[in-house]
């Protein structure tokens, strides 16, 4: 479903990771590990199509569901309205399933602005369900979630991969997902290699 | 030596002075920045090559 080969990723004109290779099939979860500032987020943004890689190739489905550091919620809209909006943008399944998965029924008519940080995060994760996309690309999904809610997330993730989906997740805590493949990005760290060689050519 | 500019001397002279001043300023700025960047780059490359 996702195939990444010889990928180089840059941020702010500096190549952070190079030679990244991995493949992900339907039904698999890939957990990317690595220190802060290593380039995890930049790698995910490349996979989601928000950023162009410096080098290498990504084969991914046409649309993927991406979740970043910000949840992209509108405070003036209720929980249900937020989900319904994203469902219509993706032409995805109805919000009911997502409300079930993250036990958001009681909050459905509450404006998103009145939610706690953990509740907002749950709503952000519930958005992945209404996207209907097979590949989930998630950046630190469990930030500000307590143990119970991490369990909800794990259950939702399990259901997603069992129905033929796949997910790429970055995290710096152990999610304890038994089925997940682990990939430490530290060994792809770019050493002394910079982007923008064009200027050196121009100087010749 | 000065040409007789008649009653428009002020206009003509101020045009020439202002324009040459403006050109001088932009040339000066470009030359100054060019020198500064050239010097910084040379210093940086010297450190790198060493």
């Amino acid at each position: 479903m996702l195939h990444v080969s010889n990928l180089s990723v840059a941020r702010g004109g500096m190549t952070l990771l190079s030679g990244v290779d991995f493949a992900l099939n339907a039904g698999q979860i890939l957990v990317l590990r690595g220190a802060n500032g290593l380039g995890k987020t930049s790698l995910l943004r490349c996979i989601a199509g928000l950023q162009n890689p410096v080098d290498g190739q990504i084969t991914a489905p046409e649309t993927v569901a991406y979740s970043g550091h910000a949840d992209g919620l509108k405070g003036q809209m209720t929980v249900l309205e937020n989900l319904a909006f994203w469902s219509s943008i993706y032409h995805g399944p109805s919000p009911e399933v997502a409300l079930d998965a993250y036990e958001l029924h009681a909050l459905a008519d509450r404006p998103a602005a009145n939610l706690s940080a953990g509740q907002k995060r749950r709503l952000g994760l519930a958005r992945m369900q209404v996207s209907g996309c097979a590949l989930w690309v998630m950046d630190e999904p469990t930030v500000s979630l307590d143990a119970d809610n991490v369990a909800l997330f794990r259950a939702a993730l399990d259901r997603h991969v069992q129905s033929g989906g796949a997910a790429v997740i970055t995290t710096h805590i152990d999610l304890a997902i038994a089925s997940a493949k682990l990939l430490d990005l530290t060994r792809f760290k770019a050493r002394g290699l910079m982007g923008s060689t064009a200027f050196e050519e121009a100087l010749e | 030596m000065m040409p007789d500019l008649g009653k428009y001397a002020l206009e003509v002279n101020s045009s020439y002075v202002l324009s040459l001043l403006a050109l001088g300023v932009i040339v000066g700025l470009y030359a100054k920045r060019s020198r500064a960047v050239k010097r910084d780059l040379a210093a940086m490359e010297a450190v790198h090559d060493a």
């Binding site: 928000l50 649309t63 569901a65 991406y66 949840d71 992209g72 809209m77 994203w86 943008i89 | -």
Partner: protein
């Protein structure tokens, strides 16, 4: 795309959405003009077309940074660009929502405020028509400018600097049409050219703006 348009319109009408601020600004500008120029009725009627067009243009400028700014800050824009919706469609939906919540109310309010500046009813109709034809260009150009200055912190002033020169043709043709109408001359040509700018902007700017959005989120 229609969903995004409806959501943007809905958000701006709800509390804290800023709907109506442009209208209030427009009203205040029109109130201040006679205070600055003096109460002479004939003098006011002479400057009314230009003042009303300029007031509408400035009112339009006020809300531009909200078009993409709010969605950029809370991460929605990232999600919209990764969704099946192309950035060009995001731009069109947002510019259209901005027009519906800003340009259209301004166009409808202008003849009413024109009464305050001694603008006669017939000319007021042309003013309304010229604003209806011209404000789409203002929203489209403004949203383009907003997409360019997305990543710039406190980019409001820069946005005005970029957008105002682009507003020149619309302002000239729009105000000219009303002025000609006020003098009883034919104004068709100005209105046609005004609509041509709006149509042209709708044809070219989605691509420029879509590119700018992609570049900014990179």
């Amino acid at each position: 795309m229609i969903q995004l348009f409806l959501r943007d319109v809905g958000l701006s009408v709800r509390s804290g959405g800023g709907f109506g601020l442009a209208l209030i600004f427009f009203l205040i500008v029109v109130t201040l003009i006679p205070l600055a120029l003096g109460p002479d009725q004939t003098a006011l009627a002479v400057v009314a077309p230009g003042v009303l067009w300029l007031g509408a243009l400035l009112a339009c400028l006020l809300s531009l940074d909200r078009i993409f700014g709010l969605d950029f800050e809370d991460g929605t824009l990232d999600l919209l660009v990764t969704s099946p919706l192309p950035p060009e469609a995001v731009y069109i939906a947002k510019a259209a929502a901005h027009w519906l919540t800003t340009g259209l109310p301004l166009a409808l309010a202008a003849p009413v405020l024109g009464v305050l500046l001694n603008l006669d009813f017939e000319t007021g109709k042309i003013l309304c028509l010229s604003l209806l034809l011209g404000t789409p260009a203002l929203s489209l150009i403004g949203a383009f400018g907003a997409s360019l200055t997305l990543g710039v912190k406190r980019g409001g002033l820069l946005l005005s600097l970029l957008v105002l020169p682009l507003y020149v043709p619309s302002l000239i043709f729009g105000a000219q049409a009303v002025r000609l109408a006020g003098q009883g001359l034919t104004y068709d040509e100005a209105l046609v050219l005004l609509s041509a700018i709006s149509l042209g902007a709708a044809a070219i700017l989605p691509f420029a703006s879509g590119a700018a959005l992609r570049i900014n989120l990179r």
